[in-house]
């Protein structure tokens, strides 16, 4: 038996292909939305992988340092190192900020870390690690910064000595690693005017400036200008250590919150990006419905354009099955073209997106199956219309 669907497609292939391309672009947008969601999750996981940590120690009763602000004294790591099972500890600060460079501005997550401790970038793709105590930086390539480029952060100028890749915040902002002391100053130290103002206020306060207590005012003023806070202490555990038990000890004895990797996964995926994920999911649903409606409309229109041929086919004895199969095959053909175009388009435009778009093969397979299912369902309306065509319509009168 002749494949009527294939013959019809070949007969009007230009129209069919253009329709498929149009549908494909819509499918491409849908696949990109799925890719953006995957990118969000992957960014979150990449963030956790950066420090090489097993436990995140943060301020008590917070979901810090990524989902909520957290502040921990930077000497806490010493006592944490004394807990059995803890192999290494590193203070880390995070601050999302806008920085200027030669070609414009870029939003980055400024990471303060201690070289040689948990929290440092895992690898470099160019340049060298930070070797000086101040004013050197390692930038993620997505920031657009290049080696030896000089950038200004607050009061000081930094030089980019190394480049890394796929080190971004959960929001997709590229990371800029600087020495911990510099980062603490950027995050916690006030500007000179604010300091002068604060000192004057303290001096004017009789509680801090008592005539009979020499040195009190100086001590108060010194405490106001300290920057000995960090956002998180990252812990690397010994190979045989039980992370749950170590975390429990930290909660009990150190009055801090400790999260395992599984806890952080949960916080990032289920809490931090949950709203974005739901938003994207809604887009996905809407785009799928729009795609299905468009496929249904296209197939229905294509079928209505063939009413006379369908009437003749029925009159000369073609079975309903033959006609339904023709329409179904055309719908699936449209879906196949649409999917190929959509997948190609999504792959082509993914690098242009400002945020990471991760197109997983598994998602592509699921997308293909969904597209074929949608096309099959969309063809039902057209098949019903075709089966209602009266063969008598081919005969005059």
């Amino acid at each position: 038996m002749i494949n009527l669907a294939a013959r019809d497609i070949l007969h009007g292939w230009g129209k069919f292909v253009f329709t498929g391309v149009g549908l494909g672009l819509l499918i491409g947008v849908t696949l990109s939305m799925a890719g953006i969601y995957r990118g969000l999750v992957d960014d979150g996981k990449a963030l956790l992988a950066i420090g090489g940590a097993d436990l995140w120690v943060v301020q008590r009763d917070t979901l810090g340092p990524y989902a909520e602000p957290s502040s921990v004294r930077d000497d806490a790591y010493r006592s944490l190192l004394g807990i059995p099972g803890v192999a290494a500890a590193g203070n880390v600060t995070y601050l999302t900020m806008q920085i200027e460079h030669a070609r414009g501005e870029v939003r980055v997550m400024l990471v303060g870390f201690q070289p040689g401790h948990p929290g440092e970038p895992g690898y470099l793709v160019a340049g060298r690690p930070i070797t000086r105590s101040h004013y050197e930086a390692i930038a993620d390539m997505r920031s657009g910064l290049s080696l030896n480029e000089r950038i200004r952060i607050r009061r000081h100028e930094y030089i980019v000595v190394g480049l890394t890749r796929r080190m971004v915040s959960s929001g997709g902002d590229p990371m800029l690693f600087v020495p911990l002391k510099d980062a603490q100053e950027v995050q916690f130290l006030k500007d000179n005017d604010a300091l002068v103002n604060e000192r004057a206020r303290s001096a004017a306060n009789p509680a801090f400036n008592r005539p009979g207590v020499p040195g009190l005012l100086e001590a108060v003023q010194a405490s106001q200008t300290n920057s000995h806070q960090v956002n998180v202490v990252l812990l690397r555990l010994a190979p045989d250590a039980d992370e749950t038990r170590v975390a429990e000890q930290i909660r009990r004895w150190k009055h801090l919150e400790a999260y395992t990797r599984a806890d952080m996964d949960e916080i990032l995926v289920a809490k931090l990006i949950a709203t974005s994920a739901r938003q994207i999911f809604m887009f996905l649903v809407i785009l799928s419905v729009v795609s299905a409606t468009i496929v249904a409309f296209i197939i229905y229109t294509m079928t209505l354009n063939k009413v006379r041929e369908i009437a003749v086919l029925k009159l000369i004895g073609a079975r309903n099955r033959t006609i339904a199969l023709m329409i179904l095959q055309q719908a699936l053909g449209l879906g196949v073209i649409g999917f190929i175009v959509g997948r190609t388009a999504a792959a082509l435009w993914a690098p242009i997106f400002p945020k990471y778009v991760l197109l997983l093969p598994g998602d592509a397979v699921r997308g293909a199956l969904l597209v074929l299912l949608i096309c099959a369902l969309a063809s039902v309306v057209a098949i019903r219309a075709a089966l209602r065509v009266d063969p008598a319509a081919a005969i005059g009168g």
Partner: protein
């Protein structure tokens, strides 16, 4: 004497019910022998198309009897269960316009019927090519429908109607869009094919040019048929 190709007795068709009922056919009687080409003429609304649709097993008559090659297909109810198979295997159709399938080439337009009947593609195409050759369009087998002239398209549609060698062919105004010369050519072809395949052909027509070519004519008026001898002029 051979069995009549078509025998119709007291065929009636009523549309609607009660006060809105319309009797389109009120007891039609016809008998056509194999190889015969008869004309069916009548004014608009006389019941020509209804008769054609009943004969083509497209609509169900209300009462009466129809037999093809001596076998009843309708006797106050259908006597066959698969009307599609009946249309495919035992009735050929030629329409006012050729109504060829535009996305199939000439051979496949004709071969489609034997293929639908279950014949392998190669055999069906061979059968189609032979029929096309018999209708003098054997040189256009690979052509697309849009590449054919009006006359060629009508020949291909006749080939499609005859390819399964049905006992009857129903032709609905087959010459309407053609000029005199081509119209007469179509009638000549129908006569030749009817003789060659011993097929009975009913030609519904308004066409004054071709009416004198029929040896026998059925007039239909107010749902009833009246037989008349035709002139039988050579087409």
């Amino acid at each position: 004497m051979a069995q009549p190709a078509i025998e119709i007795n007291g065929l009636a068709k009523r549309y609607g019910e009660g006060d809105a009922a319309v009797d389109a056919l009120k007891g039609v009687d016809m008998m056509i022998q194999p190889g015969e080409v008869v004309g069916l003429i009548g004014p608009s609304g006389s019941g020509k198309s209804t008769l054609l649709k009943c004969l083509g097993a497209v609509i169900e008559p209300t009462s009466g009897r129809m037999a093809l090659a001596g076998k009843a297909i309708y006797d106050n109810g259908w006597k066959v269960t698969d009307l599609r198979a009946l249309r495919r295997d035992r009735i050929g159709f030629v329409f006012q316009a050729p109504y060829l399938i535009p996305f199939l080439n000439v051979t496949d337009n004709v071969a489609l019927l034997p293929m639908l009947a279950g014949l392998p593609n190669s055999q069906a195409r061979e059968q189609a090519r032979q029929m096309l050759a018999a209708l003098d369009v054997g040189h256009r087998t690979q052509a697309q429908v849009r590449q054919l002239s009006g006359g060629e398209q009508q020949r291909v549609s006749i080939a499609r109607a005859l390819v399964n060698e049905p006992p009857i062919v129903l032709a609905d105004e087959p010459t309407a869009p053609l000029d005199s010369e081509r119209a007469l050519t179509v009638i000549r072809i129908l006569n030749q094919m009817a003789q060659r395949f011993q097929t009975a052909i009913i030609v519904v027509t308004h066409d004054e040019k071709i009416i004198p070519t029929f040896k026998r004519l059925y007039h239909i008026r107010d749902g009833r048929t009246f037989e008349a001898a035709g002139e039988g002029r050579a087409a």
